[in-house]
Symmetry: D3
Subunit: 287 residues, 6 copies
């Protein structure tokens, strides 16, 4: 079972929730202050209005607790869980003003992160039974990388490198720099990367089978098959023959992801699960 | 013409860009460091790979300049502009390592904010010629409200309240609190809001025509017609007769927005333009 | 009753208190460390040394609790309450070192915010029985706007716009820009503001009765009667005749505020209640 | 001449100005954006509307420059300078939108800090020709200590300790802790302070002449004569006879400060110059 | 007994621990997440692997508690205590994943600060029985000054000035500026310092006996004997004769510190106790 | 050649330098303000007082520039360069007050980071000609990881994982958790890690040859030979036979590192190069 408390440092979650509350509340929730008695209590349930994979429930819990530490909560589902429509995700009880004031911030976090998890799950389901794993990319909301990569894991996906620093990934633009100097730019690039960063994995982008062979010969740990036609990709996987990991990328969607997985690639990376995930519909119903 | 420098306080833009760069670069862009000579220069163009409305170009410019103040740039389009496919949005020239290192962060900001602007523009175009204006909501990415509301304006939309503090918006949950006390909860709520926050606009959510009448009688500045059927909404607009502003919300999409606009409402608020905007496709091509 | 916990986001209060404690304590309260045994306990009362309106007690409570979570406290008054001289505002009990170390920071916050509330109350009392409400301005201590606006509410005043973003307020310098272009700058300015920011209130500054008429004709929601003579102001209120709200500003003091209120204006804005409020005298007496 | 650039770390000034700009501008200066063409330029002068001692001009300069780096400025006075009514403090030229948007933040800083400097100067002038120096206290706006202490220096005052950490100041509450243990609490306290913090100055609060003798005997560097009657204070100064520095405090105002100075005390500390300084009247006039 | 809670503002400690945890954990402790069941509990002891003086245990406690508030702890030693090899410093019990994830951060803080305390204690022991006290310098890890100065106190050392602002220390480079102007630069410098900062202690660096006499004559509170030969230093102490405090600095090490102390100087400042302290060996042993 | 501008994000460097300057300068460099005329200029050189490997010169440059943007500088050496005693590292010219005020902060950064680089270089030199590379660990100054890892690279060392998140490293405590469940804990641990984090490298700590075989069989990418005797380590390297990378750790020092390297291990990790590096001696000499 996923454990948000361990994965998402409590620190940062709180900092984000506080920032979001400050952004929304400013000098006060004027409507609630004017209309709801300060000693009223209320109960509410956070409900899935559509099927979804939950991610980021901790953010909602912290939003309510930061506004009012006395609010009691009871989680009805856990991050990573497949929730049918109408699933109760969280029960909240306590000061009515506080619940109303924190409501939108709590929902905004969970709707967005669950959106990422749900989009990921759809891709993961499509490749079920194949060898391929779904990876995320660096195409994340600026400042949210850790959170979105956590949501991808909630959806059953795996994480590609976190940033520019924890893995070498040689792309065509890097090769351009070396192309003028040497007959085989890929080999030169891998050699340089190994020398400077011996402890890191090295991946090489290959657009052609010739480049696949060069990457393999250069000793790449992983080869990125970028925008390859299906036949070519199948051939590339055969050439590699398990001597390196293979990753497909470029123009992946729900319609074509299974066919791509069936080429035998190890990984399929999908930018859309983070950069274009639709927020899922979640509501807070008062009772 | 929109002027990002005035609207987006330079301060905050820089803080966000620096955070995003730190998040991505960490201990260094190992690939670029290992493969690209530190004295190489390069030129690149940021190109729209699909038609889009530009928003947030300043973020990209700052990303490149923060990494390398010597980089020169030339904007090919301005925020708010309709850009056909293949429009050159920005020309960048300078140290090759720096451009490669800043590339993804620069793109992540512009793709996301332009996504919001583009989604907004699609709705604005649908209601062209009617009286209705497209509004955003508080369903924004936590921590990004100001930026996404700016992007909505780039798309031709208008901004609803910024947060809970700058306008009173009385919803059913607020009324629940007062329902037990008085015969007419709406009137009680508006009266209280006026007393406590005399300088603020007051909007009331109405689910029925009866509530519309009550809101009107209570002197609301604006009435939110939430999830009303078309006929009922048309009738509501007639009842109001210009004595307050009317806003339609709930389940708005590109297919139904024009019909809703034709009921005569003043505003139509759409959560999806911020919470579910797809990132537009923008690439950085080296030359 | 005012509820600081809801109005002042707990987050920001804590951040300010921590910053102030760090600023004061630095590498340690050397005097207390050297002279007071670490296991001593003490009780102290925070007492009003002069009549005052309390504001910001939460800041004092947090200062003590952040230094020593075991300190117990008992509030003797609530924010917004009129406290005669010698009122016990807070009883504090616990570790003697901690109470001594937090004392000055706790007092500095409450003395200043209560100073704002008390200054406001004096103005509010002066206009009692008239129609006019006392408003604050944007002349606040930089970085303290939300807190000082909260203190103004504690004093019985109402808040004008929070910043430059939540309301349009067209002043003479804005009109200058348009004066050269058109016969009627006010109408042009209001029309532009309505077009760009349809959801916001529009206020227009008027220095003459002619401008009052223009503002009214342009459909301003509120008219700022700036530095007008009493007779002119009375006439202005008559001209407006309830079709817009009126606000008096400029040179307001305790001596003249009631006369101004009696002109029938809706609002009177007073910069001095925030920018020149005297700190009220509050002491922490050990027992 | 005072040099703000050296005293106020540029860093912190910018951080404060940015925070204040963000607080005021939020999602944009809607009035200026709607009414002033983005390519207009303007000139304005910041003028003293009453006689004042200038402090914090750097804050105003940074406010304009942060909003628009192209704005040119010309200082008409320097921090610490006595400025008669109508003195031009700063000339500003550049983009009209930017000047209008930064105006209030620029003024808020300078009006407040110059208020502190001016209040200080009034006290300094009162004691001119005597031996006494005016000191500030720790009764400063939370978070502003360094800035207000800088303003006190601009006014001709001297700074007491910065916080709880850079000097030992033994007050009655500290002595209470030791009173039960020993015959002479003051001597015990000074001895302990010397032992633990040998590099720090030690000051002792004395309410009676007996305590003055004890403090002197204990070897205090400085003795605080708190709320003493004039005759008693004169006697205390004689007793001390230059063997320690003396500081008068408690109930000091412009009417009594000179008489107190004439007792021969070395220092007079005045809380009001920071906690209750009135903002001076400064305006930005467009030309 | 030292009380870290009072000296180290809880605020800042938490901020540092959170920053360090975020730095280390990033997107999750992948090893622990993959191998340790989330419901396992464990007990561990933090043990001194070599003799040491403890400092900063609070940082370790906070690291565990921030990751998992339910972890229980039992301190086996207190800051400032001499701990023989194998001393149990802290017992930790609770969720196994949490303990493993926080382990390194907890150790890094305590090993470093105890390293400073231990290095200090070695110097303090060397001068035991003499009059001299060991002082720290401003040669601290940037951003850690308060913490390292606290550790110095744990080791039995005393703190020199905190920064450039709380004491005047006139060195040769300052004198250079005045040398061209006047016959006696030291006297000019002290006079200026007294005039501008009357409440601060003034120390003067002296490289020769002539300068010692000048400093004494100028009324310096403290004289820094920089890199003086032993005989010269002894003579300097005699010349000063208690009329000012004396401080030895430059090239101090464990071998020569006692001989220097025996010259009779009041203080000996040692940069190495902060800038070059070796981390002491502490381990977390699971049971 | 190393390029600090690319590796150390300018952002973070500036933030650290500003924090350090604020920490040191506080309310002003009182000595410099009192003694050095504000219009004096000076030139100074930063000189190596002992042989060293330079690292972090950018921090010094930024310290001077932040205090006074007009200061001109000329680097005499570059990060990563071996500098004999008396090498001029930086020439600084400009306002004398500014140079004096920034001096200590500038030196503190460069002395510490160059200390790390120099310690690293000594180890790297010892293993010259062997196959082994020197790695750092996670035993870094909290909050400084990226900077110290950069300094290690300046010294010729290589970086191990950045934190807990970018590589799996299974240690004995992790295995304990699995030992009770299965016959072969190592294999179970590696399998779980591969399943959850397929894109990450997996390293296994082995204390015995049997564990080496198990790790190899489990498919570990890297095997940590912890505190092994030399003969056992040699045998371990033979057993592995290039099928995984090997890393020696535990009790490494300059005296034994070469012998360890000669066992044929791929990597040797040394905690002391970060946690116990001595600051190198660098001075700023005025001219």
């Amino acid at each position: 079972m996923l454990d948000a408390m361990k994965v998402l440092s409590l620190t940062d979650v709180d900092a984000r929730v506080r920032q979001a509350l400050a952004e929304d509340i400013g000098s006060g929730d004027v409507t609630t202050l004017a209309t709801v008695p300060s000693d009223w209590t209320a109960s509410a349930i956070m409900v899935a209005r559509e099927p979804l994979v939950l991610a980021g429930l901790l953010f909602a819990e912290r939003a309510f607790q930061i506004i009012s530490p006395e609010i009691t909560m009871d989680a009805g589902a856990a991050d990573g869980q497949d929730c049918p429509k109408n699933t109760v995700l969280l029960r909240v009880s306590g000061n009515a003003q506080s619940i109303l004031t924190a409501e939108r911030v709590a929902l905004n976090f969970v709707q967005r992160l669950s959106g990422v998890a749900t989009a990921t799950r759809r891709f993961v389901e499509q490749v079920a039974g194949t060898h391929a794993k779904i990876l995320d990319t660096r195409k994340t909301t600026p400042g949210w990388r850790v959170f979105e990569k956590y949501a991808v894991r909630c959806g059953g996906g795996s994480n590609h490198r976190i940033g520019l620093y924890d893995m070498v990934l040689i792309k065509d633009n890097h090769l351009t720099a070396l192309q003028n100097e040497r007959p085989n730019a890929i080999e030169a690039a891998v050699r340089r990367a190994r020398a400077q960063f011996p402890a890191l994995k090295v991946e090489v982008e290959a657009d052609t089978l010739e480049q696949v062979e060069q990457a393999l010969h250069a000793g790449a740990d992983m080869i990125l098959l970028d925008n390859m036609a299906l036949m070519e990709m199948t051939r590339a996987v055969q050439i590699v023959g398990g001597r390196a990991k293979t990753e497909a990328s470029g123009g992946i969607n729900l319609a074509n992801v299974r066919t791509i997985a069936e080429t035998g690639v190890d990984f399929i990376s999908v930018g859309a699960i983070t950069h274009s995930a639709r927020a899922v519909d979640i509501a807070l119903d008062f009772q």
